[in-house]
């Protein structure tokens, strides 16, 4: 999946042809991303044989997970506070502000938790992954690995993918809890809803399914972020400018994928 030659894109004669070719190009890129993700997952079997790979997974878990906690905490708390404030003010018109806990809990578990986590990780971790692999590509480090018969997908992508698959659901759950905590602070201080009332109400309305679907979304988003970052990194060309472009493309495509995949998973489970 490491590509050193540009994919030929012949000149279109009219705008319809250009649109069709662009669509085919996008389908081709999606297919290559799928193959790359499949290759990385297939290489997971090496985890049992390689000490280096296990160490690298732990390093990547630290980089992707632990180092993202401060920014995730701030975003999650404020998202919960905004949610609680907006829904609480609307509910208070009907004297139903006591239900603010359920509104915040359901929003965070079903959508906002995995969604915010995905966006933050795409921006923080996915971009740095694409930049690192892109720089390695233009510096011939990846070619050096290939000549040593070391598969760059197994060596570089698989540990990142496993680390992300482990960390995104954990961070997604953490985001939910921080959001609920932030919402609780607003409920207590501005909506006059007691803490215990807020928590009981939040837990009453949350079902196990909401948690599981949220965690599934996080896992899917994690895989999408790593796949896009590594695909863009492995296809980087044209030196420093190319690294910048690859980083930008990886963030944009990860954002779009998170939105689209999020919708389809919701559609699948809440039909």
């Amino acid at each position: 999946m490491i590509m050193r030659e540009p994919i030929p894109r012949p000149e279109a004669r009219n705008s319809f042809q250009a649109l069709g070719r662009e669509a085919l190009h996008v389908v081709g890129e999606a297919g290559r991303c799928g193959v790359l993700c499949g290759q990385a997952l297939f290489a997971v079997r090496h985890i049992f044989r390689s000490v280096r790979m296990r160490q690298e997974i732990l390093t990547q878990m630290y980089v992707a997970g632990i180092r993202s906690i401060p920014v995730i905490t701030i975003v999650a708390v404020f998202t919960g506070m905004i949610l609680a404030l907006q829904t609480g003010l609307a509910l208070s018109r009907y004297n139903q502000e006591v239900f603010v806990g359920s509104a915040v809990m359901l929003s965070m578990l079903r959508e906002m938790g995995p969604f915010m986590t995905g966006l933050i990780l795409a921006a923080c971790v996915g971009s740095s992954m694409a930049a690192q692999l892109g720089t390695m590509m233009v510096n011939d480090e990846i070619a050096a690995l290939e000549i040593m018969s070391i598969d760059p997908v197994r060596f570089l992508m698989t540990p990142r993918l496993i680390a992300m698959l482990v960390m995104t659901p954990l961070l997604g759950f953490y985001t939910c809890m921080m959001g609920v905590l932030g919402g609780g602070v607003v409920a207590m201080t501005q909506l006059n809803v007691g803490w215990s009332q807020y928590v009981v109400n939040a837990l009453d309305f949350a079902a196990n399914k909401d948690l599981y679907v949220g965690l599934l979304k996080s896992v899917v988003f994690g895989a999408a972020i790593v796949t896009m970052a590594c695909y863009e990194g492995f296809t980087t060309e044209q030196g420093a400018v190319g690294v910048g472009m690859a980083t930008r493309r990886s963030v944009i495509s990860a954002f779009l994928l998170i939105l689209m995949l999020g919708y389809f998973i919701t559609r699948l489970f809440y039909n």
Binding site: R4, E5, P6, P8, R52, M136, N139, D140, E141, A143, A144, E146, I147, M148, S149, I150, F155
Partner: protein, 251 residues
């Protein structure tokens, strides 16, 4: 040992290699020279199938390198060492770990054997005391020597050098030339060197091929190359102040 048969390489509409054919013999130092953008590095990358020809074939021994894949490609690449222009060391590993990497990943050697082999190889390139340094902490010349140590640590039959002396001061460049010559003479490694540096080419080469516009403009011994009347070669020699009487200072 390595044979190019009517190899053409196009990137889009741009033809980088144009129907080139030549053969590299076992045990020789084969130098490819030529101006920038004439396909020297592209030629080198075809030998290890980092690139595949648009048409034609590249043979390594009795294997068609341009057509192998999977396990056969892996075995083919195990016969090669490759020194990249910038050394291509992994930035997050120190020099020792970079050199040990192919041994750790592709052999069953135990830790003691790996340590001994890496130390021996680092000593060969004069870096025995610099193993614990990161690539960012050493000079460009040292990075190239570390890259060379990594390229030869698994005792390859063929080593490919992409601009081994570019960007180096004359003393370090000479040291790299000596290393290439020593590896060739002492271990019998077949060497293919891509360079702009004609002084280096004339010193270490058994044969020199000059590429111009994707074609082989000249293929001869250093002595014949120096005396060549080919205007392309003469222009290149004159630009580096090399006359037919210039001594090559060979090793």
């Amino acid at each position: 040992m390595i044979r190019f048969e009517q190899v053409t390489k196009r990137f889009g509409s741009r033809r980088v290699l144009d129907d080139i054919s030549f053969e590299i013999r076992q045990g020789e130092v084969f130098v490819i020279v030529g101006p920038s953008g004439t396909g020297k590095s592209v030629t080198l990358k075809h030998m290890v199938r980092l690139l595949t020809p648009t048409s034609g074939r590249v043979w390594v021994g009795d294997t068609v390198a341009s057509e192998v894949s999977g396990g056969r490609l892996e075995r083919l690449r195990e016969r090669f060492g490759y020194l990249f222009q910038g050394g291509a060391l992994l930035a997050w590993m120190d020099v020792f770990e970079n050199v040990a990497l192919p041994l750790r990943e592709k052999t069953d050697l135990d830790e003691d054997a790996i340590r001994t082999k890496v130390q021996q190889t680092l000593a060969m390139v004069g870096l025995e005391t610099d193993g614990q340094k990161r690539p960012s902490e050493i000079s460009g010349g040292m990075q190239k020597r570390a890259g060379l140590a990594r390229a030869i640590v698994r005792d390859p039959e063929i080593v490919l050098y992409d601009e081994p002396t570019s960007g180096l001061d004359p003393v370090t460049a000479r040291m790299i030339d000596q290393l290439i010559a020593r590896l060739n003479r002492q271990i019998g490694i077949t060497s293919v060197v891509v360079t702009h540096d004609l002084h280096s080419a004339l010193s270490i080469g058994d044969r020199i091929a000059m590429l111009k516009d994707g074609r082989v403009a000249e293929l001869s011994s250093p002595a014949e190359f120096r005396r060549s009347r080919n205007p392309v070669v003469r222009e290149f020699l004159d630009a580096q102040y090399i006359t037919p009487e210039t001594q090559d200072g060979g090793f």
